[in-house]
Symmetry: C2
Amino acid sequence: MVDLLTDLDDLRPAGGKRSGKRELILEVFLRQEGHLSAEDLVDLSRREDQRISRATVYRTLQWMVEAGIARKVDFGEGRFRFEHSYRHPRHFHLICKVCNRSSEFLSSDIEVLIEEIAAARSFSANQSVLQIYGTCEQCRTGRPPTVDGGTTELLFARDALRIAIATERSGLEFYSRASKSARDTRACAVFERLANEERDHLAKLESRYEKLLAKDPQLEARPTFLFFKGAANGLFAAGAEQVARGITDSQALVVAMKCERTSYRFFKRYGEKFEDSEGKQIFLEVADEERSHLDLLIREARVTSRRRNARPRRQPAGRVRRAQA
Amino acid sequence: MVDLLTDLDDLRPAGGKRSGKRELILEVFLRQEGHLSAEDLVDLSRREDQRISRATVYRTLQWMVEAGIARKVDFGEGRFRFEHSYRHPRHFHLICKVCNRSSEFLSSDIEVLIEEIAAARSFSANQSVLQIYGTCEQCRTGRPPTVDGGTTELLFARDALRIAIATERSGLEFYSRASKSARDTRACAVFERLANEERDHLAKLESRYEKLLAKDPQLEARPTFLFFKGAANGLFAAGAEQVARGITDSQALVVAMKCERTSYRFFKRYGEKFEDSEGKQIFLEVADEERSHLDLLIREARVTSRRRNARPRRQPAGRVRRAQA
DNA sequence: CTAGGTGCAAATAATTTGCAGAGGC
DNA sequence: GCCTCTGCAAATTATTTGCACCTAG
């Protein structure tokens, strides 16, 4: 955790100011998990250094917000709270007006929409805050909280893995069906190879998931943190269904390419948004995997179309991509 | 505008308190368009009645928020601002950190996602606030603002009409193609009838759009207020493409049903969310239209499948619906 | 008559600022 | 030595409260 500091200073010399006190406050802030009020941070910092004044904490907080290290959020109490934005490019909150507790989540889908809207208005966005106010389950039903949120770090990794696993599973399903129903031997071989790769990778991801669960016995029960609809049924689900209904080898190839491309983009894009963390790593790893499958498929599609007939069109892929957009 | 007051009192006796001062403050508040600070409201109210105290305004504001008439938003200045929530179930904001101005928008897509997430966490949401911080176009390019936002009332109506028109257009396109390529005379007649209906309605909507533009010469140039991706290319666009590539009559019927159902749901759902306004009316009107088309298609599908063969399955529609979900 | 609304002024609470001194480069 | 940070205390700002009074039902 401590080496974050040097990273941060390298990354954000914005304001060009540094000092012992400031670094101490920053470090204390980064150590915390939840949402701190200014006063909380004063208390925590004073525990490490008696002589830190409230003003300094406020000034540091201001600097952190400007530098993009922290985000100021309002939960409807009279004061503001602060949360890291390092490691958490944007956070969304569900805020219960009864118990005043808040829980966080991320939604890839919402982020995408926000980006699109900002672009449409030619607005260059750098922070977004979404607060959903209402009543939480516990306050509504009166039941005690079954499980709390847990560390976002673990939750993020868990959800990244779940999405990855769902994707690999549907990929596996798709390729094994495709390899069975393929008429051409060559196509069959390709699909089989891809099925095997998915199987291997799936096994790896699943054992990783097990290991993660070991770190926190309740991890599996905790509420979803990262929402991503695209992955709901696995990115290949629709494709697998098409295969089940019967399609030609080359159509299957096109469908496969579309799926790999979509999931490659998602994993790449999302993975890049995060600072080092297990979740980031998982996303980027899967992105690589998808990328290499995609490359294989593209090569294969070229060969096939060249063999089949003399017309050198590569239109079908383009057509399908447009229809899906 | 003034008759809103009686409506409000009927709708929200929450707190069961009324008085001259309070009503005056409320009325002044509702007359304003933008985002008022407490101080703004004090000033405005004092213009009508010298003897109104700051405390009363604060207390009234508090009551309005509780009663769901107003929403408290933080734009990152030191104080809060307030906006109507009557007529505006939720508002999202783009906030420029340079000029501190904010502009609003609505996004059907984001609202849907928010609802899904709240449901997934069994959280009952009643307000949501989304703020996107960044730099606006003017502050970035230095150019003077070409057009300002304008009244949300008009913008909402404008965008509702645009979405409706895009939908009708793509519907028209779809049905006229389908009627040309239909083999069966009966199917052809149905598609032609629907095409005619779309044409009529489209003409109506377009003249309404013209009338709306007359109210504000710059209306057309103002930025998008209501975002809805589903309507981006018209809800029937994908269907029309399928017809172009050639499908059977019964497949066309299924596609048409899917499109009508989707757009019916969107217009209904969204229309219902608003208090009386031109936009609401447009949405509900189009919803009715789609609903009647859908009914017609359903009747037709029944007849056709009965005629074609004895198997009384209605599976195809279900299958397609699932694949798209 | 009585609960609740209202004005005034004082209180609170969060955050900012002025200023003199301290510390890093 | 210069520039920025820092602590302290005072100031500022938004918002709330106590209390006596008033008003509608």
